[in-house]
Amino acid sequence: MADQTLPIPGSLGEEQQRAGMLEWLHSWVVTVDHKKLGILYIVYALFFLLVAGAEAIAMRIQLAVPNNHFLSPELFNEFFTMHGTTMVFLVGMTIIFGIGNYLVPLMIGARDMAFPRLNAFSFWLSAFGGLFLYFSFIGGFGLYGMGSAPDVTWWAYAPLTAKAFTPGHNTDYWAIALIVMGFGTLGAAINILATAFSMRCRGMTLMRMPLFVWLMVVTSGLTLITITPLTAAQVMLVIDRFLGGHFFDAQAGGAPVVWMHFFWIFGHPEVYVLILPAFGITSEVIPVFSRKAIFGYPAMVAASVGIAFVSTTVWAHHMFTVGMTSVGNTFFVLSTMMVGIPTGIKIFNWIATMWGGKIRFATPMLFCTAFLFQFLCAGLTGIMLSVAPWDWQLHNSYFVIAHFHYTLTGSFVFCIFAAIYYWYPKVTGRMLSETLGKWHFWLFLIGFHVTFDTMHFVGILGMPRSIYTYEADRGWNALNMVISLGGFIQAIAVLIFAWNLIYAYLRGKEAGNDPWDAWTLEWSTPSPPPAYNFAADPVVRSRRPLWDIKHPQDPDWKYER
């Protein structure tokens, strides 16, 4: 844990120091405190963000020039499988539940999660699932060859995953790691729901909860019904691989298409599981830095629930090229386009919140503003891809890659960065450097656009995804070089960010309780908050309890209905 020091007086002997160190480590291993577990989740996710980022950079080096031999084809397959799996499960899922773990009890005025021990159990399940996944690089016959890491892509279509086509244990590592992590995630989601419904402080009615808490509730509810189908499908895969079952075995009457359905019933809502907390973060950051209450709070809540519902009916838009009936195609085209309505409501509400506000462009606000633009673009390419004939042309091309990196990097990761800049002072008591933050923001923004804007073009020019190299006469050379350069710019930005995190922890400016002049309950506690969070149980009378305290002559509860 780089972000925790132990106050050891200089007079202590070496042995006592070691004992203190052990005690400190022990306290992190056995902790059931939601704040410590939240930090564990986040540090774990940030570590894997670097790992999966390094994998992406290796792939970009391989693809920068045609006929390159930087990575072998096998290793390239392993890297894009691990990059996708890591980013979605080990980075995305863990960081949202980490931030949720840390903030939900603080925001609703509770002293801990509803089930602290389940909380610790969920974290360690997720953690060991991730370590198990990465053990595949050295496990099995790994050390003697290229490693036996999963290499069947992160959606792992049958029948490629059948024993006959992927012998060895690559796919087994993938399936079992995801089953274990799936149970961890399920536990975390149950915990968030029980906390938000049963642990609120006095006066914190559902319609007074901060939007971040609302979005975590919606995400957790969605997690309950989306992660579990994946777990079920993985169990089927394990039965096929270990017990000789025939679920996805076409030679015994099974249908590989069934796997595609089951996977995308999970896979598409999963994107919303990731992006909804990002919406929550934006909904906290934009009002504070625009000095206005959020515009249209009830509409925001309704739109979030609406997105969750619609997102469960769109999965087969990943499968237009499989050959569904025209009725099926039409249904999924229309349901996919419907997602645009609630997300549009949200975008307009955020803009309306900023409209006429006294905007401060601190680093968190910069990231959220960029998020607004990039999420809009991601939504527009999403509408393009939802049109089945368009999808038939561009399915499995780099255009699709560009689209979902716009949602996951351009929107999700940008919001995560915003969240870290915004709440880091609360978690550590120190401010992140604004100068480094601006460097991080601008470099990451430029790198992001250089990489992923260009990817749209190379996709329209016909470059398919998941290929480890290409011929020089395809007209993709210059574009691929540009994409790779953008990747390096992003990598530099992330390293600046990592340095900022470490440097601010050691030398950062003292933050105080409420550095942003914010309005939600977590800012009423000391930074970092004590183990018990609140010395006295808070009482809330409006959506902005700290505004009420700071402006007793003009409190919110006079106007809120």
């Binding site: 049963s198 579990t228 096929d240 099974g254």
Partner: protein, 199 residues
């Protein structure tokens, strides 16, 4: 605005501040998640009915009526146990709880006998054909849940016999009973799909 006297401002009623029980919310969430798992397995089962390329067909199954009656009536006995502990009748609680466990064990034993007959006498296993794969995984998934429920029930029984379970634990018992009701309700679906629709 300044004319509104402070006392006239509607302040929420402190004494009415009630929140749902966290145990119940947690268990209901778990049940929603588990339902999704079962839905996937049930959908796979229904989709694959009649798609096996080789025999045997679902005709070889015997309808486990006695098993079903036992499992479903265990839902009634556990309700009676819940009532007993709510009103503090600990011995009555222990008796109904033991009966619930007995019915659950009967169900597991019955399933074991059914499976033994299929596997040993009829040489029908999970890898025989598509029907075998879907049958054993769906019924096995349910049986796994019964086993997990039995572990929970046994722990409560153990603590009841050592006198650790008291009237104030009625709510926790209720939460565990929710899970048991869920396991029973799922059996209604599994039974319908496997032994009525699928056969």
């Amino acid at each position: 605005m300044s004319t509104v006297p402070v006392s006239a401002v509607p302040i929420f009623a402190d004494e009415n501040w009630r929140l749902p029980s966290r145990g119940r919310v947690g268990m209901l969430s778990l049940i929603v998640g588990e339902s999704a798992i079962f839905t996937i397995f049930v959908v796979a089962y229904i989709y694959y009915i009649g798609r096996s390329l080789t025999g045997p067909s679902p005709k070889i199954l015997d309808v486990p009526i006695f098993n079903t009656v036992c499992l479903l009536s265990s839902s009634i006995t556990i309700i009676l146990a819940e009532h007993a502990i709510k009103h503090g009748f600990m011995w009555r609680f222990a008796a109904w709880w033991a009966l619930t466990m007995a019915l659950g064990i009967e169900f597991l034993v019955g399933t074991g006998i059914e499976w033994k007959d299929l596997i040993v006498n009829q040489h029908f296993t999970i890898s025989t054909n598509l029907f075998g794969t879907t049958f054993y995984s769906l019924v096995g998934l349910h049986a796994t849940h019964v086993v997990v429920g039995m572990v929970g029930l046994s722990l409560v029984m153990l603590f009841t016999l050592t006198g650790r379970v008291k009237q104030e634990h009625a709510e926790r018992i209720e939460v565990l009973a929710l899970y048991w009701h869920f396991v029973d309700a799922v059996w209604v679906v599994v039974f319908t799909v496997v032994y009525i629709v699928g056969r």
